[in-house]
């Protein structure tokens, strides 16, 4: 699914965010990407989201080299992904259902289809009773569930999550992880960047550790 070969990413003044990182993630895997702040986790996710391209090396997802994608192909590629961020990235002026429906709307689905699909995933994450609420009316855990629903709404083959439990207490964090495990059980590849060692221990899945931009450990 994801093939990362000798990927390096440098920013100005030659500072390496990632250096010579090679890793492989198979379809249907659930993988933690861990390491301290500045280890390169978010950089790798930005490369996978195709917000940036590697300075050297190759990064392929589903057989496509992300550096070779044209702007239109980048849009199409992103439509095949789901992403979840620590700060939820919800639109505060939109209701829960509208936040989730933004993806099918972008895909050109009709209003009816958008709402039906958004309601299905909101029901799946247990928020069917909050569809008309605005994000600021929800708890942190509920907001992250909305973000997960949005990530799921287009049936992605790959979900990228950047510190999805960073703003949640441990119990809610485990709830969210269980939700991601359920998603993974349905065949979706899940890559979660987190520095929460306790959570990784409790979930007990494959873990790739980065340190100072290098691949430090794989368990």
């Amino acid at each position: 699914m994801i093939e990362c070969r000798a990927v390096s990413k440098t920013y100005s003044r030659g500072v390496y965010a990632l250096k010579d990182v090679s890793l492989s993630i198979d379809k249907g895997d659930f993988v933690f990407l861990t390491g301290p702040s500045g280890a390169g986790k978010s950089t790798l996710l930005r490369l996978l989201l195709r917000q940036e391209v590697p300075s050297s090396g190759s990064l392929t997802v589903g057989g496509r080299d992300l550096a070779d994608l044209k702007p239109r192909e980048v849009q199409a590629y992103r439509r095949s992904l789901g992403f979840i961020f620590q700060n939820f990235n919800l639109i505060t002026t939109r209701t829960v259902v509208e936040n989730v429906a933004i993806v099918p709307r972008v895909l050109g689905q009709s209003d009816e289809q958008q709402k039906r699909r958004a309601f299905q995933v909101l029901k799946w994450v247990g928020l069917q009773h909050r569809i008309s609420a605005f994000p600021q009316e929800l708890s942190g855990g509920e907001q992250q569930r909305v973000a997960i629903a949005r990530a799921l709404v287009n049936d992605p083959t790959l979900i990228l999550a950047d510190e999805p439990t960073g703003n949640l207490d441990p119990d809610l964090a485990l709830d969210i992880m269980n939700l991601l495990r359920e998603i993974n059980a349905r065949g979706t590849t899940v890559l979660v960047a987190t520095h929460d060692r306790e959570l990784i221990r409790r979930v007990n899945r494959r873990t790739i550790a980065l340190a100072s931009g290098h691949l430090a450990e794989e368990t």
Binding site: Q75, I91, T92, T93, V106
Partner: protein, 297 residues
């Protein structure tokens, strides 16, 4: 179709949310379109006056007393066949004398008596308004002056031609001013739509991340600009119509007396539509400029 519906919904909602800032852009567009529309109304009415006066423009071709009837007939036929005249009427010396006495009774003694007066026979030519100007007409006049039997010409077209040129100059100047104001209005719209875009930057970022096509991101901003344009133009048109109505009410009789027209006319439907289209173009340009900035990664 789905994109159009989405852009319409999002654009109108964004316009409503930012209605205070949008009011500035709408006012700017309304001002520009009002000035442009006012020039159009002025130019339209000035052209009506020129057309009306040109339509009744006459030329008198004075004939020599000894001009043989055959030469006069030949001259009459030559004028009619030239394509410059609507009609040609022969006025004999006797008829000229009668008219003079009728039109200037106080000066009847000056003209002398019916058998001995200085008034020449003439051909009264009603000129075609479309043909009665330009170098071809000038050449024709020169030719006419040299025709056998012609002693003089009197026509009032030269000042009408000057009036036409003046109207054209006013139009060109007016639309140059409108062009500059239009640029300023488009920039105002772009700034207002950019403000709306900045307030929705989180949404735009998310749309980019979920792979929204550029058209999906940009279209609502263009629609927002178009809406501002059409609302501004509609307001300007309404103000112009009210202005024209007030002028007609207060000065209609005076205008009719001076110009010979039935008062001030508002813009014909096609011109009014073009005013709306002008507003749409201004708003669209502003929205497009803003959308390019908003959709830039």
């Amino acid at each position: 179709m789905a994109l159009a519906g989405y852009a319409w919904r999002e654009g109108s909602m964004s316009l409503w949310r930012g209605r205070r800032a949008a009011a500035v852009a709408i006012a700017a567009i309304a001002s520009v379109v009002f000035v442009a529309g006012a020039f159009l109304v002025l130019s339209f009415n000035a052209r009506r006056i020129v057309r009306s006066w040109s339509a009744s423009a006459e030329m008198s071709v004075y004939l020599a007393d000894d001009a043989p009837p055959a030469a006069v007939q030949e001259l009459d036929r030559w004028i009619q066949q030239s394509g410059m005249a609507e009609s040609v009427v022969y006025v004999s010396r006797d008829e000229a004398f009668r008219r003079f006495q009728r039109d200037f009774p106080g000066l009847a003694d000056v003209a002398g008596n019916p058998s001995d007066h200085p008034l020449p026979a003439s051909l009264e030519v009603l000129l075609r308004p479309t043909a009665a100007s330009g170098p071809v007409f000038d050449a024709w006049i020169d030719d006419l002056r040299r025709r056998p039997g012609v002693i003089d010409l009197r026509y009032d077209l030269e000042w009408l031609s000057r009036l036409q040129r003046l109207v054209r100059t006013i139009e060109v100047t007016g639309f140059a001013i409108v062009g500059i104001l239009g640029l300023a209005a488009a920039l105002t719209v772009a700034s207002v739509v950019r403000l709306a875009a900045a307030s929705r930057s989180d949404e735009i970022d998310i749309m980019r991340l979920v792979g929204a096509p550029l058209s999906t991101i940009r279209a609502p901003f263009i629609v927002e600009g178009l809406l501002q344009g059409v609302i501004g133009a509609a307001i300007a048109l309404l103000l112009l119509a009210i202005g024209a109505w007030i002028v007609q009410l207060r000065y209609g009789a005076w205008i009719a007396e001076v110009t010979g027209l039935d008062g001030v006319s508002f813009l014909p439907p096609l011109a009014a539509l073009s005013v709306i289209a002008g507003g749409l173009v201004l708003g669209g340009i502003g929205g497009f400029v803003a959308s390019r900035g908003a959709a830039r990664p």
